[in-house]
């Protein structure tokens, strides 16, 4: 069929059509005719040769390296604005359960059979955090299937495990790609990985790398020697700060119920139900709840090392008390004695509970210690929370 006739059929019917034999025509991808289109603007660029049907090409892949086991993606070290924006979103808690990269073997720089192998988790935040520290290096990156969870949590949950390391080494046929038999694992994965059993299972020797990716370059350049500081975990103010938004995000589903309960309880009084009281008092007690959240989920984490007393429930009690007293000073005569006491109980209890919950996000609280303080704190917090609605409703009958 002549090109001109094909063009006419294609353009008339939007790309596919039936030729006179009744067979479906495939869109013609004809390089020579790109500038010579029959209608509309010039055709867009051709697809990358690396694209495969059924697979999406990741933006952080710059090319593919041919190896004895096939094509291995070579990743960029620089993060894009898109990467940074997604980091920001997952730090807020948005879509962080699905923020993953495919497990398997990647490379960075001009990796050869003698280049080191760095093992990491398939949480994309972890992956990005790692690769951005590797500029100028030539390494292999073995990504494990940790179900999109970061290294330390995954190690604790046993998804960054001895078994997963062995399995991934075998599945990627790493032994055919590198001549040495060494794997550099992040130190914090030691919770879930036994170096001895990995060696037994896949013949690779585990070397414990530094805790932070920022120390990897220095570690590699000093011939795999870790300084004492590289092996100690920290909990600086910025490190605490990034943990706060997601805790607030988890609370969002309770806010509506707290708002409704605040108004409903506040309106109950001698007139059975007063909308004016519901509005005025409801706002006050709802603000109390918000202050409790601020004290327990924001102030306590930020001020952590400076707050006295070791137990987190008590640290939360302190921040809660400070904010509660501040609120009462501001409210003055707008609340009576019973309401004041109830507000203090409310703010202090919410703050204490949320601060106690923050123990799960720290790198230094032991579960045994947390259990010990919870067994004492939770019954008290529960008791106090029961008194709050009783006190608040009673106050509108008493004075």
């Amino acid at each position: 069929m002549a090109t001109q006739e094909l063009k006419e059929i294609c353009c008339d019917s939007g790309g596919t059509s039936r030729n006179p034999d009744g067979l479906e025509l495939l869109p013609v991808h004809n390089q020579e005719s790109v500038d010579d289109v029959c209608c509309g603007p010039p055709a867009g660029p051709a697809s990358s040769e690396h694209e495969r049907p059924g697979y999406d090409l990741c933006p952080f892949v710059e090319s593919f390296k041919q190896t004895p086991v096939g094509a291995v993606p070579k990743v960029k070290t620089a993060l894009t604005p898109g990467d940074r924006f997604n980091t920001f979103k997952v730090r807020l808690g948005l879509n962080r359960d699905q923020y993953k990269v495919a497990p398997g073997l990647y490379c960075l720089g001009d990796a050869t059979e003698t280049s080191p192998v760095l093992v990491t988790a398939n949480y994309k935040l972890t992956f990005d955090n790692l690769r951005k520290e590797l500029s100028g290096l030539a390494v292999w990156i073995l990504v494990l299937d940790t179900r999109g969870i970061n290294v330390w949590c995954a190690a604790g949950k046993k998804t960054f495990s001895t078994q997963e390391v062995i399995q991934r080494v075998k599945q990627t046929r790493l032994g055919e790609v590198v001549r040495h038999k060494k794997l550099i694992l992040p130190q914090l994965s030691a919770t879930g990985v036994s170096a001895k059993l990995v060696h037994r299972g896949c013949d690779f020797k585990v070397i414990w790398g530094p805790i932070r990716a920022t120390d990897i370059k220095a570690f590699l350049q000093s011939d795999m020697r870790a300084e004492r500081d590289m092996r100690m975990v920290t909990f600086t103010l910025p490190e605490r700060l990034v943990l706060i938004p997601v805790e607030l995000y988890f609370l969002r589903k309770y806010l509506l119920w707290i708002l409704l309960a605040s108004f409903f309880l506040s309106g109950i009084g001698t007139d059975l139900f007063s909308i004016q009281m519901a509005w005025r008092r409801g706002l006050i007690i709802f603000t109390g709840c918000l202050l409790g959240i601020l004290a327990g989920a924001v102030a306590a984490p930020l001020l952590l090392p400076w707050l006295p007393l070791r137990a987190f429930a008590l640290k939360g009690l302190i921040t809660g008390l400070v904010l509660a007293i501040t609120m009462l000073l501001g409210l003055g005569h707008m609340v009576d004695l019973i309401e004041s006491i109830t507000l203090i109980l409310l703010i202090v209890t919410i703050s204490s509970y949320l601060a106690m919950n923050f123990t799960g996000s720290t790198p230094y609280t032991s579960p045994s210690g947390v259990e010990k303080e919870m067994r004492v704190a939770i019954p008290i917090q529960a008791g106090a929370m029961l008194l709050v609605p009783i006190g608040w409703v009673a106050a509108s009958f008493i004075f």
């Binding site: 919770t191 799960g360 609280t365």
Partner: protein, 96 residues
């Protein structure tokens, strides 16, 4: 971490010094420098600095170390009061 100290005397960390070969793995993997290795034996230098992560116990080649952390999760503990230990469960896949 000097600035960050949690509760004292709660850790379940145990070291069997008789079995210890002084390989130093525990000192390497511990994120809080709890262990000290001198004269071919490890010892617990900072017992209250232990957070029960288990890295030492998992990697001690002669299983001279044991750690038995609790769950440390509020949701789980509250459930043990209502449902008993057998029926209590963690918060689900998105929880921790």
């Amino acid at each position: 971490m000097e600035k960050f100290r949690y509760l004292d005397n709660v850790t379940t960390l145990e070291l069997d010094q008789a079995a210890c070969t002084g390989c130093g793995t525990c000192a390497d993997v511990c994120p809080h420098h709890v262990f000290e290795v001198t004269q071919h034996k490890a010892s617990i230098a900072d017992r209250d600095g232990c957070m029960e992560c288990g890295a030492c116990a998992t990697n001690c080649p002669v299983t001279a170390i044991s750690v038995n952390p609790g769950v440390g999760c509020a949701a789980y503990i509250i459930q043990t009061w209502f449902k008993g230990k057998k029926q209590a469960s963690c918060g689900g896949p998105g929880c921790c």
